[in-house]
């Protein structure tokens, strides 16, 4: 009786399912990390949100990394409380910090492209630390290149003023890049996948 479906059901191939699953879990991880920060001395929050963007590009490559961040953005627009402070909705994406959220899609894709130097991702074990570092630096630059002018526009500020306002939040970014390179480069048995 199961014969009846066999011709009509167009199965998604195993490779695509694996990447979709990876993109889903990284999107969910980004959503959770966005609610989590450690306060640095001086009260500046060390946010864990960028790690999600970094991992998306490094682990999934340009296409699926970008796709993962698109899922994060859409699930927030759909109403899951995944943006900072547990907020949701289109209003947040179009609000002052929305440029950063939108930039994640492009940043993850760029990180993937630079780290993997191909549209098809290679195994994390085979990624050279220098490529990963370069990718993360480019990705961070994209996040600020989109996020800060957007912030200036919505706030009705000049660009230098917006940049000055955002500067303290960038304090931890070099540390985050170093941590991410430390986690993924040079092989990590926790992240080896069958």
């Amino acid at each position: 009786m199961s014969q009846e479906y066999s011709d009509s059901v167009d199965l998604v191939n195993a490779g695509t399912v694996a990447y979709l699953s990876g993109a889903v879990l990284i999107a969910a991880l980004t959503a959770v990390l966005a609610q989590f920060s450690i306060d640095l001395p001086g009260g500046v929050p060390f946010s864990f949100q960028p790690f999600g963007v970094f991992f998306a590009g490094v682990l999934l490559g340009p296409i699926w990394g970008g796709f993962s961040m698109l899922l994060y953005l859409l699930v927030g627009i759909a109403g899951a409380p995944v943006f900072s402070n547990g907020t949701a909705g289109v209003g947040i994406v179009l609000g002052p910090t929305g440029g950063f959220l939108i930039s994640y899609v492009f940043a993850a894709a760029a990180i993937g492209l630079v780290a993997h130097r191909s549209l098809d991702p290679v195994g994390v074990d085979d990624l050279p630390a220098v490529g990963v570092t370069a990718g993360l630096v480019v990705g961070s630059a994209i996040i600020y290149a989109i996020g800060v002018p957007w912030f200036a526009e919505v706030q009705g500020w000049t660009l230098p003023r917006a940049a000055g306002f955002m500067a303290p939040f960038a304090v931890g970014d070099a540390v985050k890049i170093a941590i991410t390179v430390g986690i993924v480069a040079g092989g990590n048995e926790l992240l080896e996948r069958p």
């Binding site: 479906y5 009509s8 059901v9 167009d10 199965l11 998604v12 195993a14 695509t16 399912v17 694996a18 979709l20 699953s21 990876g22 993109a23 889903v24 879990l25 990284i26 969910a28 991880l29 959503a31 959770v32 990390l33 450690i38 060390f46 864990f48 790690f51 682990l59 796709f67 698109l70 994060y72 859409l74 699930v75 627009i77 759909a78 109403g79 899951a80 409380p81 907020t87 949701a88 909705g89 289109v90 209003g91 947040i92 179009l94 609000g95 002052p96 910090t97 526009e153 919505v154 706030q155 009705g156 500020w157 540390v175 985050k176 941590i179 991410t180 986690i183 990590n188 926790l190 996948r193």
Partner: protein, 236 residues
């Protein structure tokens, strides 16, 4: 926290596609239109959306208070200059005109979030975005929504475990690295199991799409969305 709340209001009964279209049309109308008298009219429309969804203005304000604080910094800091003349009121006013536009957009999205379950947005995506991309996007949104509480629980346990082993005394870099590595490894293991489970249940490119249907009122909603999206033509 503002999330979907089941209810019987008109906003709850509308088709998600029309509601999504109104949000984008509304944003275009607000950002491309003049401040006076258009913006107060749009604010009134946004408050109307809130009421239709059974949500008070106060609750919407409270849900978005952090964003509103950031927005209010716009005119305050915008008017201040480092050095004489110290205060430039017209700069503050410029900023106020800009940030004020975000408030009605926040209201409309609050009404949407309050009245629309994630699975309806997923259905709207699958029925609007064509082909395989739309299918992956729709299923991806549903799966992401489903896994957020699972990953949140993972992260909570990891933090407790790191704390229990004296993680607080370690330097930040070490602590953050430990937490993120464990969270990432656990998420990737879940991704592998999810992948197998999806295949076992015949995950296909051509499934039966979720039920959605337009009632007459939904066409009115779509017309409103189109009108809002085209409203910038008024100001040419």
């Amino acid at each position: 926290m503002l999330t979907y709340t089941p209810g019987e209001t008109l906003a709850h009964r509308l088709d998600p596609r029309g509601k999504l279209a109104v949000q984008f049309g509304f944003a275009i109308a607000v950002f491309a239109g003049p401040a006076v008298p258009w913006l107060p009219a749009m604010l009134a429309l946004a408050v109307g959306c809130l009421l239709l969804a059974g949500l008070s203005v106060w609750r919407a304000l409270r849900a978005y208070w952090v964003v509103l604080v950031v927005l209010s910094l716009g005119p305050v800091l915008g008017a201040v200059t480092i050095g004489p003349p110290w205060i430039q009121p017209e700069r503050g006013l410029d900023s106020l005109r800009s940030v004020a536009r975000v408030v009605p957009v926040l209201f409309v999205s609050a009404a949407f979030v309050h009245s629309t379950p994630v699975r309806e947005t997923r259905a709207a995506i699958q029925r609007t975005v064509p082909g395989r991309f739309g299918q992956l996007l729709g299923v991806g949104v549903a799966l992401t929504f489903r896994f957020i509480p699972v990953v949140r629980e993972d992260l909570r346990r990891i933090r407790e475990a790191v704390l229990a082993r004296g993680g607080e005394r370690r330097p930040l870099r070490d602590r953050a690295g430990r937490i993120t590595t464990l969270a990432l490894a656990r998420s990737m293991a879940r991704a592998d199991r999810l992948s197998v489970a999806l295949q076992a249940r015949c995950f296909a490119w051509n499934p039966t799409l979720p039920r959605l249907s337009f009632a007459p009122v939904d066409y009115a909603v779509l017309a409103l969305a189109a009108g809002l999206a085209l409203s910038p033509l008024l100001w040419l």
